[in-house]
């Protein structure tokens, strides 16, 4: 049986993990490679590295970092942040990334998904959606959630998978940072509608939240950042808890 996946997300700025991450026994807490290895050893199933600066000048630094991660980390990882062309994707995959995530550029230019899937295979194209509930609908937001659109999340997820997205990374802006749990309703809706795997993101605060997102939210994977970085939840403990609660998870 396929197991559910636990995915720590690391934000990268100028080739370093952003500040505020507290770890012992890691020589350089700012080094994404060291941190990635640490999480892999702890039992993380995949990793996501997001280039939060994502300017042209930083592209090369990020690609070099991706190559270092690929050399030293022995589990799959996705990279994202400001990806807007076939060339961007080509550089990152050739550097050793397993998957790339596209977000704003794909909304502005949906054919990009077709182009990327045809060139590199749909299995490595992750569509990231930032979504927010306006009281009536869950709408797609752009530029890190700052700019609203009128596109319904479920419509965009459906269209994007038809165009060739191989996985959906769904972040609820309402839940992100709250530690009150994942957005179970929209996660479940998307997961039951599309035929590709769905990674739930935003709102993880307790181990029970992960149980809920896998059972009630029907997610295939769950992503979190701060609760892992600040060691509020340790991945080993989380996996033990999930197993105890009947979730099939990798040991």
């Amino acid at each position: 049986m396929l197991s559910k996946r636990i995915i720590p997300c690391l934000d990268i700025k100028d080739g370093k993990t952003v500040k505020g991450i507290q770890f012992e026994n890691i020589m350089d807490v700012g080094d994404p490679v060291e941190l990635g290895k640490y999480y892999a050893d702890q039992g993380a199933d995949e990793l996501v590295f997001l280039d939060i600066t994502a300017t042209n000048e930083n592209r090369k630094t990020f690609a070099e970092l991706v190559a270092r991660i690929a050399r030293h980390v022995n589990i799959p990882f996705t990279v994202g942040g400001g990806i807007s062309s076939k060339e961007d994707v080509s550089v990152l995959l050739n550097s050793g990334a397993d998957k790339v995530s596209v977000n704003t550029a794909a909304v502005k230019q949906p054919e990009l998904i077709n182009e990327l899937a045809a060139a590199f295979g749909d299995q490595c194209i992750v569509l990231a959606i930032d979504t927010k509930f306006n009281g009536k609908d869950w709408l797609v937001h752009l530029n890190g959630g700052r700019i609203p659109t009128t596109i319904r999340t479920i419509d965009w997820a459906t269209e994007a998978t038809k165009r060739g997205a191989g996985e959906i990374l769904l972040t609820s802006m309402n839940n992100d940072g709250t530690k009150n749990g994942f957005a179970l309703d929209i996660t479940r809706q998307v997961s039951e509608t599309v035929t590709v795997p769905v990674i739930a993101s935003g709102g993880a605060g307790s181990m029970q939240h992960f149980v809920d997102v896998f059972t009630l939210g029907k997610a295939d994977a769950a992503l979190a950042a701060s609760i892992f970085h600040y060691k509020e939840i340790e991945i080993r403990e989380l996996k033990k808890y999930l197993r105890t609660n009947g979730i099939f998870i990798r040991n």
Binding site: S3, D45, A67, A70, N94, A97
Partner: protein, 199 residues
């Protein structure tokens, strides 16, 4: 120990090179048939599409070259599927080392718990019977990412269940093949690569 990786237009081979590097092997990446022939081990990786890859192989003469290899060969993911007889992906005739069909996972039926395609993530391997799996216990997790699968057959040396049981590894004579990605499957995946190098 000379390890050659088959170079072709599809697929990210960097991960395989890095994984070998982690176990102290420096492979050569080549589509030169003489170099492939003279290697001690040949790895045939793959992420990509079956039809276009087979077409490229035929143009380059790599199809016949791979079939003629006498040393241990390891096909990975698409590399495994291309060693089978036929793939539904692009209705493609493949190399035919393994007399098996490669089929697409069935789409979900109405009212059924959705079976996601591609299968993406960690699944277990069981029914292990090969030197490839030395030090690997039954039901070890490996990383999979694929939409097509090889049926079960007499050459099956590992089975995985995703809605239905299928071949997650095959072996016939000097040809070995795995559907999962040992290069991405943590330390257990690394052991499988080591076992292959030691064959």
């Amino acid at each position: 120990m000379k390890v050659a990786i088959v170079k072709y237009n599809a697929g990210n081979v960097r991960s395989v090179i890095f994984a070998l590097d982690r176990i102290g092997i420096e492979p050569v990446l080549t589509d030169d048939i003489r170099v492939l022939n003279s290697a001690d081990k040949v790895i045939f990786p793959g992420v990509g599409e079956a039809g276009s890859t087979m077409k490229y192989f035929r143009e380059k003469g790599l199809d016949k070259a791979i079939l003629a290899l006498k040393q241990p060969v390891l096909g990975i993911c698409l590399g495994m599927q291309l060693l089978c007889r036929h793939s539904e992906e692009g209705d493609t005739d493949c190399l035919g080392i393994f007399d098996l069909k490669v089929k697409r996972f069935p789409e979900k039926k109405e009212g059924e718990v959705p079976l996601k395609i591609p299968q993406m993530g960690w699944n277990t391997i069981h029914g292990l019977k090969s030197k490839l799996f030395e030090r690997i216990p039954e039901n070890t997790f490996m990383y999979f990412i694929h939409s097509y699968y090889a049926e079960l057959g007499k050459d099956t040396i590992a089975t995985t269940d995703y809605k239905l049981p299928y071949s997650s590894a095959l072996q016939k004579d000097n040809f070995y093949a795995v559907q999962f990605h040992p290069e991405k499957s943590g330390t257990d995946g690394g052991k499988i690569l080591e076992n292959f190098i030691k064959l």
